[in-house]
């Protein structure tokens, strides 16, 4: 990582810490939503951007995590335990969903995961005895940790930000480890990866499971943030928008999901003037971006940075860790 990168990350972190003091409660809510969704997008980036598996199931994992935490905490289980349970459950389910990923690839996998998302939605909607059906679950409490209540918007934001930073560091470390390199090898050339002795089977499952468990952890924060969950929130649209976040930010770039989630959460607010039309504008922007720069915002930054320094001295933009040729 270059010095420039470190400076940019430091400034971004300082901004993230200072921003809520200048914002109204709704602004803080949006920032918290950004932190929570970034976690899920980071997980999807792991599966899609690093391991190269197109998954449309991330929204379903956010849903599984959210319902796990909501049901467990209402049953009296401490938040910390419920949080871990959400991550674990999604890890296991993600691992099992990874098996189809071994048999099929590309668009087929997109459809299998799409089917999975719809199945999860149907279960959440129909099993009323457990999930409350279409009425959802109301009044989810924000956690109290070591006597520190996160009930206030500001406190919950710092809590979410803290979780995001910890998870981001963990993923950063993992991507530097042999595991992370194996994920990239899977994306770039699976046959070659197998030929140099990588157990592609295990690493594909692993990428899926870790990505899914991040989705679950994101859901575990989503439930207490919104305090009301219903099946519709986790239908296919959630998976689509998480996928768009990863792509818009720049899939395969470590900080891609951070940027993508920021755009997705803030854009509706910036475009208040456009009112109901903002989704139209957003969709059109995504299409234009795909036509001109399919590597996303960070891919664009990367390209501009390279164009600015043509003398071969690589000055990778923030998080430009994409190992693609």
């Amino acid at each position: 990582m270059t010095r420039l990168g470190a400076v940019v990350i430091g400034v971004a972190l300082a901004l993230a810490l200072a921003a809520p003091f200048f914002l109204k409660p709704f602004g803080i809510y949006l920032l918290s939503m950004w932190a929570v969704l970034t976690i899920a997008a980071m997980g999807l980036n792991l599966t899609l951007g690093y391991a190269g598996q197109v998954s449309l199931a991330q929204g379903a994992f956010v849903g599984i995590g959210a319902y796990t935490v909501a049901l467990l905490t209402q049953g009296g289980v401490p938040f910390a335990l419920a949080f871990i349970a959400a991550g674990l459950l999604c890890f296991i389910v993600g691992w099992m969903l990874g098996y189809p990923a071994l048999r099929v690839s590309h668009h087929y996998l997109a459809f299998v995961t799409l089917a999975f998302t719809t199945l999860v939605f149907l279960v959440l909607r129909n099993e009323q005895w457990l999930t409350g059906g279409i009425y959802g679950i109301n009044g989810i409490m924000r956690p109290v940790l070591f006597g520190w209540s996160t009930g206030k918007a500001l406190h919950f934001y710092f809590f979410s930000l803290g979780v995001l930073v910890v998870l981001a560091l963990a993923i950063w470390w993992m991507l530097r480890s042999p595991w992370g390199r194996a994920f990239v090898a899977l994306r770039e050339n699976p046959i070659r990866a197998a030929s140099v002795g990588l157990d592609t089977r295990r690493y594909t499952l692993m990428a899926f499971a870790v990505g899914s468990s991040l989705g679950g952890l994101s859901g575990a924060l989503y439930a207490p943030l919104v305090q009301f969950i219903e099946p519709g929130s986790f239908a296919i649209n959630m998976s689509f928008s998480l996928l768009l976040m990863v792509i818009v930010g720049g899939s395969g770039y470590f900080f891609g999901p951070f940027v993508g989630a920021l755009v997705a959460v803030l854009l509706p607010e910036w475009m208040r003037i456009a009112e109901g039309y903002y989704l139209i504008v957003y969709a059109a922007l995504v299409m234009v971006m795909m036509a001109f720069c399919p590597t996303g915002i960070l891919g664009l930054v990367d390209r501009l940075a390279k164009a600015a320094m043509p003398n071969g001295r690589s000055a990778p933009a923030i998080g430009a860790e994409r190992t693609a040729p």
Binding site: T118, L279, A291, P294
Partner: protein, 291 residues
Amino acid sequence: MASFIQLLISGLATGAIYALIAVGFTLLWQTSQTINFAQGEFVMLPAFFVLAAMNWGAPFWLAALIGIAAALVVLGLLFKLIVVDPMLRYGVLPLVISTIALSLLLKESVKDFYSAQAQAFPPLVPDADVHLFGAVVSTQSLVVLGVAIATVAALHLWLNKTRTGRSMQATAQNPALARILGIPVQRMVLYTFLVNAVLVAIASILISPIYLAKFTNGETLGTAAFIAAIIGGFNQVRGAILGGIILGVLDNLSAAYLSSQYRGAFPLLILIAVILCRPQGLLGRVEERTV
């Protein structure tokens, strides 16, 4: 037994519509590697073209023709020129993302510029019941079934018996070889997009009287088309037809005999089973896969 026949015929009617959508979907995939995630919205939209034309005072038959013509231009020509062509060089994924965005765009546009409410849509024939082997069947179902079968049959004949149709098939199977043989590949690809536009427009006119015209219609229809295409075989027009019909019949029967709450789940379970056991689909050929 009577109710079974009833369910079977209405299932066949829905299945025939799914088949139309799925055939267009597979054609696009075959000729240009386009996985159209907006296919459902493509079916939703022409109904609104027809309604808009009727609001201008056109009689239904004229409005239907205008709807098909508008679909040809917007969903055939413009879709290819503006969305697909600039993206093909990047491979499959960016185009998938782009069509996902397109589906959002079409849905929101209809909601904001036409109406968020479900709109009544004129049926092709006045609704009446016909008695058939002791079962009561609506004329609607029979007409839908008839039109869909006629359309598929016409398409089949055109693809197999005309020079253009055979050139299109050649393009779908091996573009490089087709080009060497002097087939204008680009024009054939454009034809597939136009054929897809006509198919979705017909499906739209058939299905809207039953489901009402609503901006969210595409969500279920699109998924149904994917599933039908995959069950039958992604690379076979015949497969898409078979998949559509299986799906429609199964959907109706399982809703009636198993569980109406989990109606949406059965096609998905079959989808997963087919992908795991026979990824090339029931009638599909094994394609070379990049692992």
